[in-house]
């Protein structure tokens, strides 16, 4: 089932939340809508689900080329998973998953035995077969979210939509559950869109990422594409930590400006920062070490440029840092291994 969004706008009162969104998602893809809060990603998802209606005038949503803009949520055959699960509190896990099957019109409603076998199969899929008779309140957050997913899958939706599915879980469960989602998607291959504000999650799980900002899609591409060739400084900045090596207005006293010319913005990831004891490179920036911290296999070094008193974060491998033997107060020189320059920007 491919999903296409054409020229969708949405306003809440005077604020425009979505501005003429166009998006095309291919059959079987797993797509992340990534953006900061207020970027309109959840609204877009809810419009695709049919929970919100786009502003009248032009915009449409198509499933497999068929216009479903006028259809209600019940007719779109979507599976929706909420951030806070929205499980039916008064029903057991089994009944929660069976709800959609029991809600079918009686002609297409499976009989009790079929429902049981279907629910049991889904319980196996989410590895919660032993907890079928529990109530949602007796489950952990991760278990609840898996039940919510099974409940959505029970009606064999054409599209699976997940709204910040792991947002309410702690870090370990999150990581575990998103791997599980990835594997699940590989087995059932239903077109899936999930909303997240966690760039790591989006890059790790999805086939393609749509980075959103202020009601518009800034870039839509594979995780590698958006990470390596960000279309705008915003995308670059949203996808990870960064250092500003030169910026408009400060070009005059910026000794390092590779690629970009006048008025350019040059951004460098911390792991692309190279620290050396001697300034052989003429572009090297003199800096002072402020702090050296160990984070797992990486050493995070906080530096201060001597010329502009701005801080630079660097991530060094433990070998490199051993070789340099940095201490706070040391004078060093900074260059970059790889940098991104943007001509036209607005932050």
């Amino acid at each position: 089932m491919s999903i296409e969004v054409r020229g969708i706008s949405k306003s809440f009162g005077p604020t425009r939340v979505l501005k003429e969104i166009d998006l095309r998602i291919e059959t079987g893809e797993l797509v992340a809508l990534l953006g900061p809060s207020g970027s309109g990603k959840t609204t877009l998802l809810r419009i695709i689900a049919g929970m919100e209606h786009a502003d009248p005038g032009g915009g449409s949503v198509l499933f497999d080329g068929q216009d479903i803009t006028a259809q209600g949520i019940g007719d779109r055959r979507i599976g929706f998973v909420f951030q806070h699960y929205a499980l039916f509190k008064n029903m057991s896990v089994f009944e929660n998953i069976a709800f959609g099957l029991r809600s079918k019109p009686w002609r297409s409603r499976p009989d009790a035995a079929q429902i049981k076998s279907k629910v049991d199969a889904l319980l196996d899929l989410i590895q919660l077969g032993s907890l079928a008779q529990r109530y949602p309140s007796q489950l952990s957050g991760g278990q609840r979210q898996r039940v919510a997913l099974a409940r959505a899958l029970a009606v064999e939706p054409r599209v699976l939509l997940l709204d910040e599915p792991f947002g309410a879980l702690d870090a370990t469960v999150r990581r575990e559950l998103r791997r599980w989602l990835r594997r699940l998607h590989e087995t059932i291959h239903v077109t899936t869109i999930f909303v997240t504000h966690d760039q790591e999650e989006a890059l790790e799980v999805s086939d393609r990422v749509a980075v959103m900002r202020a009601g518009q899609i800034e870039q839509f591409g594979s995780p590698q594409e958006v990470y390596e060739n960000p279309a705008s400084p915003f995308v670059f900045q949203f996808l990870g930590h960064y250092n500003v090596f030169s910026a408009r207005g400060q070009v005059a006293d910026a000794p390092l400006s590779a690629g970009g010319g006048e008025g350019a913005l040059t951004l460098v990831r911390p792991h692309d920062v190279v620290v050396s004891r001697n300034g052989n490179d003429r572009d090297a920036i003199p800096a002072r070490v402020l702090h050296v911290g160990l984070v797992g296999p990486l050493v995070r070094v906080e530096l201060e440029r001597l010329d502009r008193k701005e801080s630079i974060d660097a991530e060094l491998t433990s070998e490199a840092s051993k070789e340099l033997a940095l201490k706070p107060g040391d004078s060093v020189f900074v260059t970059s291994r790889h940098e991104h320059s943007f001509e036209d920007y607005s932050i």
């Binding site: 689900a49 049919g50 929970m51 209600g72 949520i73 019940g74 055959r77 979507i78 599976g79 929706f80 909420f82 806070h84 929205a86 499980l87 039916f88 509190k89 008064n90 029903m91 709800f99 959609g100 809600s103 079918k104 907890l131 008779q133 529990r134 109530y135 949602p136 309140s137 007796q138 489950l139 952990s140 919510a148 409940r151 959505a152 029970a154 009606v155």
Partner: protein, 346 residues
């Protein structure tokens, strides 16, 4: 006794504050006990002692009529007996009227209350806050004024007076089976006309006065629960009715029952509004109106007997309310997952 939000009562199990001087604590407790004794326990006890002051037989006679175990010996006794019989018939009819009115008013207000609560909590629209304020209006208007509003609207010279005086409605007690000879198989034998000073006006006034109870007890809960569960049910293809029946209703059932009980209690107890619209005729008396009449006729024992029935109803209400609070608190704890460690439910 406005419908307190159930969510508040759910936290009633929080540990009490035990700081402060023990003397103060004892004084406060003693003061409360003395107050409750003087203002609640003593009057209720008085109601029952007065009602039973002439024995159990006299108590039941008030609404079942005098027992005809021995025939009257003279004309004076015969006359006395027939007055007593007439009085007890009026009292019995007042009880029937109260039960009948409540039987119509309570279901109506469950329906209206749910509709209002649903509209106000599950949708966002212009004027929503105004609507919430309007739901509370009957609490802030004096019941007598409420009754008067209906008289001024529907009375002979009222705004809709011409229409209301000619309005014809079937007497629900005259329902009869007609058979399939043609037309409706079920029909009514008697019809009433007019609204004001008829039982219909009593129903209208009671609906107005008791409207907020259900809505008020359900709204806070529905507000707290949001719409996610309903939307989830709809996305799974459930119909609106199925969503309401299996998702919304189970979530609000204790609050709804609570509101219903308060609404019932008030429907039986309402005096002011009903007094204005009933027209002071014996046939339109409800229990509170009947109590007033008996009292004015210096029949204290009978007045207290009817009052004791209302007091009994109040006590049943109180027990049910406590029971519901307890169950609601328990299910709230279950829903928020406080029993996470508990094993599977038996």
């Amino acid at each position: 006794m406005a419908g307190a939000p159930l969510l508040v009562s759910a936290s009633a199990s929080a540990p009490p504050v035990t700081r402060g001087h023990p003397v103060w604590r004892r004084l406060l407790i003693a003061g409360t006990v003395v107050f409750l004794t003087i203002f609640i326990v003593l009057p209720v006890v008085n109601v029952f002692t007065q009602a039973l002051s002439k024995g159990v037989a006299a108590y039941t006679e008030v609404f079942t009529g005098p027992a005809a175990d021995q025939p009257p010996r003279n004309l004076a006794e015969k006359r006395k007996l027939s007055t007593r019989r007439a009085q007890s018939e009026k009292t019995a009819s007042a009880i029937a009227m109260s039960v009948g009115v409540a039987a119509v008013v309570v279901p109506l207000n469950i329906l209206f209350g749910l509709m209002a609560a649903w509209a106000v909590t599950k949708f966002r629209f212009r004027g929503r806050l105004l609507l919430i304020a309007l739901i509370d209006l009957p609490f802030s208007v004096s019941p007598v004024v409420a009754g008067l509003i209906f008289v001024l609207l529907l009375g002979r010279t009222g705004l809709f007076g011409a229409w209301a005086t000619n309005f014809v409605w079937p007497d629900p007690t005259s329902i009869a089976w007609r058979g399939f000879g043609g037309g409706w198989p079920i029909g009514f034998d008697r019809f009433n006309s007019g609204i004001i000073f008829t039982p219909l006006a009593i129903v209208l006034a009671s609906v107005f006065v008791t409207f907020p109870f259900v809505a008020r007890s359900v709204i806070p809960l529905m507000q707290a629960q949001g719409t996610d569960e309903e939307v989830a049910a709809l996305s799974l293809g459930a119909s609106g009715w199925r969503t309401f029946r299996f998702v919304t209703l189970p979530n609000i059932r204790w609050a709804l029952l609570y509101g219903t009980i308060l609404c019932t209690a008030r429907a039986f107890g309402e005096f002011g509004a009903v007094s204005v619209v009933s027209g002071n005729t014996d046939a339109n008396d409800t229990m509170p109106l009947r109590i007033e009449k008996l009292w004015n006729e210096y029949d204290n024992q009978a007045a207290f007997t009817v009052a004791s029935l209302l007091a009994l109803l109040a006590m049943v209400t109180l027990v049910l309310k406590t029971l519901i609070d307890w169950r609601a608190a328990r299910s709230a704890r279950r829903d928020t997952g406080a029993t996470l460690q508990a094993g599977p439910p038996s």
